[in-house]
C-alpha cells in the first residue's frame, strides 16, 4: 500500500463560530492576517517536505473562498513541491475542472508540472464540493457532464503532438490547441478521479483510472469500490488491481493511545469548523432532485459533525492511537472494505503545528508501516 500525506492548509485562527454565518464563501477576508497566513504556509510546506523525506508520497488539493483551505491553486503548491522535495509522487487531487473555464490551461499547467518534476506527477480531476459553486461562479447544473468533457479535452491536449487540434464541444470551445511543454510521462500522467458514491465510481472504473474517496467510512467506501468494480468489468477483464483504489482518512499516531487521541482531537477541527449556510451546501442541480427531497425529509444520513472520536474510529473515518492501535485500525478497515492500494493520510488539520504533524508521520512511517507489511501488499519501501 502506498501512503500519501496531505493537509488542506487551513487558516485556523477563526473568531467564535457564533460570530459568523458561514466559513465558506462569505467569511470576510479581513479576518485573515497575511503575516499569520504566511507563517502557516511555512509550516505546511515543511510538513510536505518532511513527509517526502520519510518516504511518503504527497497530495495537494484546492478550495476557494474558505478559511478551511488556503491552497487556492494546486499547481502553485505542486510546483513548489517539485523543487523542495527529491522523491515521492506528487498527486493533485484535484483539479476542479467542472469549475475551471479553460481546460486547455489546466492541461498545460499539468504538463509543465510533469516536466518540472521529471514525471513524478499524478493528476486528479474532481467535480468539487458544493461550496465551490458560488466561490467559483460555476453553474451547479450539469457539472458531471462538464467535468467529463473537460477531461476529454485535457486528454486530447496532452496527447496531440503534431500541431494544433480543435475542440468545439457543448461546454468548451478552443481552437489551435497545442500545449507546450507536453507531459513528461507518456502518453500522460496517471489520472485519478474522486467520488463519494457508487454511481459516481462507475465511470471512473470504466476508464480504469484511480478512484479516490474521502472520509466515507467503511460502509460507503465499500459501495464506492463496488461501483468502481462494476464500471471496470464493463470495459475490462479480470480483477481490479488494488492500486486503482484509494481511501482518505484522518490519521494521528501518538507515543501512546492517549497521545494519539489528543492529536485526533486536533484533527477533527476539519469536521467541526465547517459551518456553512444551507444555500452553499446544497445548490440546486448539484445533486438530483430526489436526493434534495430526501434531505428536506431528513432521510439522508447526517454528516460527521457531532460524532465522538470513538464513533469516528468505529466508522473508519479516523485512525488514531499508538502505532499498534492505528495498525490494527487500518488492518480492520482493509478487512472490511477489501484491499486498496493507496491510503491518503490527512495528517494535519486546524491548529496542529508541524512538530506534532511530523512526529505522527514519523511513527506512521517507522512503526505502523512495519506492523502492516505482512498483512498488506507491499508498496514502495517507506
Amino acid at each position: 500500500m502506498e501512503y500519501w500525506f496531505f493537509t488542506e492548509a487551513a487558516y485556523p485562527e477563526l473568531p467564535p463560530e457564533s460570530t459568523y454565518e458561514s466559513v465558506r464563501v462569505k467569511l470576510p477576508s479581513r479576518l485573515l492576517d497575511p503575516e499569520v497566513a504566511a507563517n502557516w504556509w511555512d509550516e505546511y510546506l515543511a510538513e510536505w517536505q518532511a513527509a517526502a523525506e520519510l518516504g511518503f508520497n504527497l497530495m495537494v488539493n484546492e478550495h476557494h473562498g474558505t478559511a478551511t483551505c488556503m491552497n487556492a491553486t494546486v499547481p502553485l503548491t505542486a510546483a513548489i513541491l517539485t523543487r523542495i522535495t527529491g522523491q515521492g509522487r506528487i498527486l493533485i487531487l484535484g483539479n476542479p475542472i467542472a469549475n475551471r473555464r479553460d481546460p486547455v490551461r489546466v492541461a498545460e499547467e499539468m504538463a509543465m508540472l510533469d516536466v518540472l518534476s521529471r514525471g513524478r506527477l499524478e493528476v486528479g480531476f474532481v467535480r468539487g464540493v458544493p461550496y465551490e459553486i458560488s466561490a467559483t461562479n460555476s453553474k451547479p447544473v450539469g457539472m458531471s457532464e462538464r467535468m467529463w468533457e473537460a477531461h476529454d479535452l485535457i486528454k486530447l491536449a496532452w496527447t496531440s503532438h503534431d500541431g494544433p487540434v480543435n475542440w468545439q464541444g457543448k461546454h468548451f470551445e478552443h481552437r489551435q490547441i497545442n500545449i507546450w511543454p507536453r507531459p513528461y510521462q507518456q502518453p500522460h500522467p496517471p489520472i485519478w478521479v474522486t467520488t463519494l458514491s457508487q454511481s459516481g465510481a462507475r465511470p471512473v472504473g470504466e476508464r480504469g483510472y484511480v478512484v479516490g474517496t474521502f472520509l466515507t467510512g467503511i460502509e460507503n467506501t465499500r459501495k464506492v469500490f463496488e461501483g468502481y468494480r462494476e464500471g471496470w468489468s464493463r470495459t475490462r477483464d479480470g480483477e481490479v488491481p488494488s492500486d486503482r483504489l484509494a481511501y482518505a482518512g484522518l490519521v494521528y499516531v501518538g507515543e501512546s493511545d492517549e497521545e494519539g487521541m489528543a492529536g485526533a482531537e486536533k484533527l477533527t477541527w476539519y469536521i467541526t469548523s465547517n459551518k456553512s449556510s444551507p444555500q452553499f451546501m446544497d445548490p440546486p442541480g448539484y445533486r438530483p432532485v430526489e436526493a434534495r427531497m430526501a434531505a428536506v425529509r431528513g432521510m439522508l444520513p447526517t454528516g460527521l459533525k457531532g460524532l465522538s472520536l470513538e464513533q469516528l474510529i468505529d466508522r473508519g473515518v479516523l485512525f488514531a492511537g499508538s502505532a499498534e492501535t492505528v495498525a490494527a485500525q487500518i488492518r480492520r478497515f482493509c478487512d472490511e472494505v477489501g484491499e486498496f492500494g493507496h491510503f491518503l493520510v490527512m495528517g494535519q488539520s486546524g491548529h496542529m503545528h508541524k512538530d506534532e504533524t511530523i512526529a505522527s508521520l514519523t511513527r506512521l512511517a517507522h512503526e505502523v508501516r512495519p506492523l502492516l507489511k505482512e498483512q498488506l501488499p507491499l508498496g514502495r519501501a517507506l
Binding site: 458560488s134 453553474k139 447544473v141 449556510s277 444555500q279 440546486p284 442541480g285 432532485v289 427531497m293
Partner: protein, 270 residues
C-alpha cells in the same frame, strides 16, 4: 371558480415531439398567455382565476418545469422565448396578451423583440432580464446566495402569502419546487438573470406594454423597474403599494384592475 386541470399534451417543436404541461382556464378570445416566474405556474392563483372570467388564460410550465419536458439543448431564456413564439404559431393564437412575471417577463420581452406579430400587448410584472448598473453593482439580488427565508423576505411584503416552507409541502409540491430551483440555476445562472443585450433591444418593441411593479420589491427593486420603463420608452409603469416582487399575488384586485383597463384600452372595439 373555473376548473384548472393540467393537461400534458405532446406538441411538435422544431419537428420533434415534446410533452408540455399546460392549463386552459376560461374561454373567450383574444387569449392571454401567462409566463410564470422561477417558481412555476399556479392555476389556482386568484389573479389567474379573475382574469379568466373574461378570456381564455393559457398557462404553460416552461420546458423543464413541472411535467414539461426539456430537450437537452434547451438552456437559455432565448430558447424559451423561441419555444413560446413557435407555440403561438402552432396554436394559431392572435392578438395575445402575454403576461410575464419576473423571469417570465424577461421571456415575454425577448419574444416581443424578435417576433411581435401575434402579440397584442405585453404585461410585464416585476420583470428581470436587463442589466442596469455597472460591473460591481448587483441589480438583482443573488437568489442563489441567500437562504429561502431571506428570499421570501425580499420577495414578499407580507411573507405569510409566500406559501408553505419546503418541509410542509407534500411530495408532489416539493418535487416541483426543487425541480423549479434546478431549472432556475440552469437557465438564469450566467449571465445572471439577464441578457446583457436586452436593454438596448427593448427600444425596438412597438407592442403596447404595461409594467407593474411592487413598491417593496427586494429582488428587483423599483429603481430597476424605472430603468426598465425608460428603456422600453412607451411603457407605462404602475406601482403597487404594499407589494414586493409578486404584486399579482399580494394585491390581486388592484393588479387585475390595472390589467383589465390596459387590455380594454389596447383592444380594438368589437
Amino acid at each position: 371558480m373555473s376548473t384548472a386541470i393540467a393537461n400534458v399534451k405532446t406538441v411538435s417543436y422544431l419537428g420533434s415531439p415534446l410533452a408540455v404541461e399546460s392549463w386552459e382556464i376560461g374561454s373567450a378570445d383574444p387569449p392571454m398567455l401567462v409566463l410564470h416566474g422561477g417558481n412555476g405556474f399556479d392555476p389556482e392563483a386568484r389573479f389567474v382565476q379573475d382574469l379568466a372570467r373574461s378570456r381564455r388564460v393559457i398557462g404553460v410550465s416552461h420546458p423543464g418545469w413541472g411535467e414539461s419536458q426539456r430537450p437537452e439543448w434547451l438552456d437559455t431564456v432565448s430558447d424559451l422565448a423561441h419555444f413560446y413564439l413557435e407555440l403561438l404559431e402552432s396554436e394559431n393564437l392572435d392578438d395575445v396578451t402575454v403576461l410575464g412575471h419576473s423571469t417570465g417577463g424577461w421571456i415575454a420581452a425577448e419574444m416581443a423583440v424578435w417576433r411581435p406579430q401575434r402579440i397584442g400587448r405585453l404585461v410585464l410584472v416585476d420583470p428581470v432580464g436587463i442589466r442596469v448598473g455597472g460591473p460591481a453593482d448587483r441589480d438583482i439580488v443573488d437568489i442563489f446566495a441567500i437562504s429561502r427565508e431571506e428570499r421570501i423576505k425580499l420577495g414578499f411584503h407580507d411573507p405569510s402569502l409566500a406559501g408553505p416552507p419546503l418541509a410542509e409541502m407534500d411530495d408532489e409540491k416539493l418535487r416541483r419546487q426543487l425541480q423549479a430551483d434546478e431549472m432556475m440555476a440552469l437557465y438564469y445562472w450566467e449571465p445572471y438573470m439577464c441578457n446583457p443585450k436586452l436593454r438596448r433591444r427593448l427600444a425596438a418593441i412597438q407592442t403596447p406594454c404595461q409594467l407593474i411593479w411592487g413598491r417593496h420589491d427586494g429582488v428587483a427593486p423599483l429603481d430597476y423597474g424605472r430603468a426598465y420603463a425608460e428603456s422600453l420608452g412607451h411603457a407605462r409603469l404602475h406601482v403597487v403599494e404594499e407589494a414586493a416582487h409578486c404584486p399579482q399575488i399580494e394585491r390581486p384586485e388592484e393588479f387585475c384592475r390595472i390589467v383589465e383597463a390596459f387590455i380594454a384600452e389596447t383592444s380594438a372595439p368589437r
